[in-house]
Symmetry: D2
């Protein structure tokens, strides 16, 4: 129900920490995996929508080092008229259990009509599916 | 006085936009270039400090497409006791002139003593250099 | 016994194929996972060695697209005096079974003494461990 | 007439060298810049072709470290019936002059018809433009 990643030497930068931009790929992996599990990709494909990130606010709490295993935890947050928010956490795993917060982020996104290239109002079937994600949790 | 980047096919993702994580590398390039020009790297090296990102708040305003040229504009912002903020903008360039905002970000960082691995108080010479960057502008 | 990766939109480039450089990260993930399973990292750490890639010869056979699942298969190949070779394949998975070759690569590497920064002769315990990997297979 | 890149902390991996996969992005930057200068992108766009990499054979000769400046040198090589080869070198720059070979690569590519998704025969106008690149040099 979540994405676990073993930190490798190629994820690091000169400080031997996972580089700040790499986390955004980890978070993106977490979101697509979450959407896969909640069958949101079908909705996106059926309605020819694009998932467009409008804002990312990420706090780096503790560096992650080579050989550590981290877990990307993803939740749907609040849903507005034209945008919505997801909450994501990167947790350090020790013996398979999350112990420390490595990073957390709020992702604000909108859904764009692939033809008109404009953000759609989040209503009807799309809104129902997003709301069900909140109910269902992880 | 700034970093200009031509958008290439390998910067894009499935939506034919520059991918959200790629901007963080562009911003990082902008910061190191800025530090180079303001000779801040000497201070970091002399005092054996590490530049550690604590938070990135980035808004994606307009997608950037293949073949477009974008400019990374970097400024030192406010300086606190143990952390400081930089402001960065990604501008679309047309005929060499910035015309539209592609993304903007606030970067909160601290400076870590490489030995103790703890954030230092921003005072003395380090503070003076950071304050001079604000005065000097871009 | 291998690394499976679901292709995501952020792995692609303007042609909607996984970008050529991304495969090198997939292969690197495959190698570290292989070394983990064969406990080669202990040897590297004990002897303070660095695994240094000298040559990569990679053929791209079939593009990989969004949503496909690919498998990275890694094997130790031949062992010379100062360098050795690994064979890696990227296979398309359909219903959990490998069906088509996406890419294959030969990786030539040497082991460098972290202190002297020179390639070591592959002999003694290190050679024995590498030879056992060949025997053990995947 | 070439792409110069300053090595940054985010290009490195755990060994403090530019990571092997990062060079493939540097080479790709070199190729698109070369195509830009030789106006090959117009041909690709007019004929709706895709530039598809079939093989990369890259040798890593000397690590590149933080703060070093490297130059990507790109040349068209030989042209076959359905594929062609480019030669690329990564050189260390010291005082603006190339001094040491960091990496060199042969890139084999074909040109694919974007509609049929099949490699085209390299003939007519496309062949003429590729041959002129060889004549023109860098």
């Amino acid at each position: 129900m979540s994405v676990d990643i073993k930190v490798r030497g190629y994820h690091l930068d000169i400080y031997h920490h996972v580089n700040n931009s790499r986390y955004l790929e980890f978070l993106e992996e977490g979101r697509w995996d979450y959407f896969d599990r909640h069958r949101f990709l079908d909705v996106i494909d059926d309605d020819q929508l694009a998932f467009v990130v409008a804002n990312i606010n990420i706090s780096y709490r503790r560096p992650a080092f080579d050989g550590e295993v981290i877990r990307i935890v993803t939740r749907m947050g609040s849903i507005g008229n034209k945008s919505a928010q997801m909450q994501q956490q990167v947790m350090l795993l020790e013996n398979g259990e999350p112990t420390e917060l490595v990073a957390d982020a709020t992702i604000t996104f909108c859904l764009m009509d692939a033809k008109t290239q404009r953000a759609i109002a989040i209503s009807g079937k799309v809104r129902a599916v997003l709301e069900k994600m909140i109910e269902d949790g992880l």
